[in-house]
């Protein structure tokens, strides 16, 4: 079902919010797939790095996003092999080696690295250091400490009054 062309959308086409014009071939399904294609083209490709460069880039991402913006870090188990390769390996009786795929993005660029069983401890330590150094905007629990001290005082008060009498 084609909508009649108006000044906002070009005839026969569809203008997206970012002024990318898509010309669907037939139905809305095609339009959706075209949209997906253009979205993928717009996002820069993911850069696969070695462990240490990844950590350096992650640090700079955190530093850049201090004023505004977010940093996303995704962890996923992956063998980094296609389905075909997996099938071949399993039919050959070999075990598939899994690694931990780590992706980081600040919505402008995406970096990734993969960590195996041998390096994961070292990576874990460096990663924790980076997070501790940068996640400084979170609140420290002052109020709850005060609450705890007042609760403790209350408990002491009630315990003296509600002591059971020994027969």
């Amino acid at each position: 079902m084609h909508r009649p062309p108006n000044k906002f959308s070009p005839p026969g086409g569809f203008r997206r919010a970012d002024h990318q014009i898509l010309y669907p071939l037939c139905d809305s399904r095609e339009k959706k797939s075209l949209q997906c294609l253009t979205i993928c083209k717009e996002y820069p490709s993911e850069v696969l790095l070695q462990l240490d460069p990844f950590l350096n880039e992650l640090t700079s991402m955190f530093e850049k996003s201090k004023e505004k913006g977010s940093v996303w870090v995704t962890l996923k188990r992956s063998s980094l092999k296609s389905k075909l390769q997996k099938r071949k390996l399993s039919s050959a009786g070999e075990s598939i080696e899994y690694r931990c795929l780590i992706r980081a993005t600040d919505a402008k660029k995406t970096i990734s690295t993969s960590v195996g069983a041998k390096d994961h401890l070292r990576f874990q330590a460096s990663y924790a250091t980076i997070l501790k150094a940068h996640m400084t905007a979170l609140k420290k629990r002052e109020r709850k400490d005060r609450k705890k001290s007042t609760e403790a005082e209350k408990k002491e008060g009630t315990s003296t009054t509600t002591k059971p009498k020994k027969p």
Binding site: W72, R77, A117, Q124, L138, R141
Partner: protein
């Protein structure tokens, strides 16, 4: 979204989710310095568990969860999690499958 209030429940359910489907489960961390907010998400594309916080204390707990996931993902879902610091306490408390170890 499904925000879980209890940290321990979030950890238990997310580890269960991962062990049930290690191929498609992923763990996402989003940090916004300008808002001082941290959001954690674990999903297997069918079920989604989220946890949000603005507390520094929870960030320390998150680091332990990171270690757990690193170990699970790098070594495999069948790995013995008692090796990971701090997880052992939670395992013996919540999931009573332990073979009668240190208590």
């Amino acid at each position: 979204m499904v925000y879980i209030v209890s940290w321990d429940e979030f950890v238990d359910r997310s580890v269960q989710l991962f062990k049930a489907d290690p191929e498609s489960t992923r763990y996402v961390v989003k940090y916004r310095h300008c808002d001082g907010k941290l959001v954690l998400k674990v999903t297997d594309n069918k079920e989604c568990l989220k946890f949000k916080t603005d507390q520094a204390q929870e960030a320390r707990k998150m680091e332990k969860l990171n270690n757990i996931f690193f170990t699970l993902m790098a070594r495999g879902p069948d790995v013995d999690l008692s090796e990971v610091n701090g997880k052992e306490q939670m395992e013996t408390q919540s999931v009573k499958k332990g073979s009668g170890r240190k208590q």
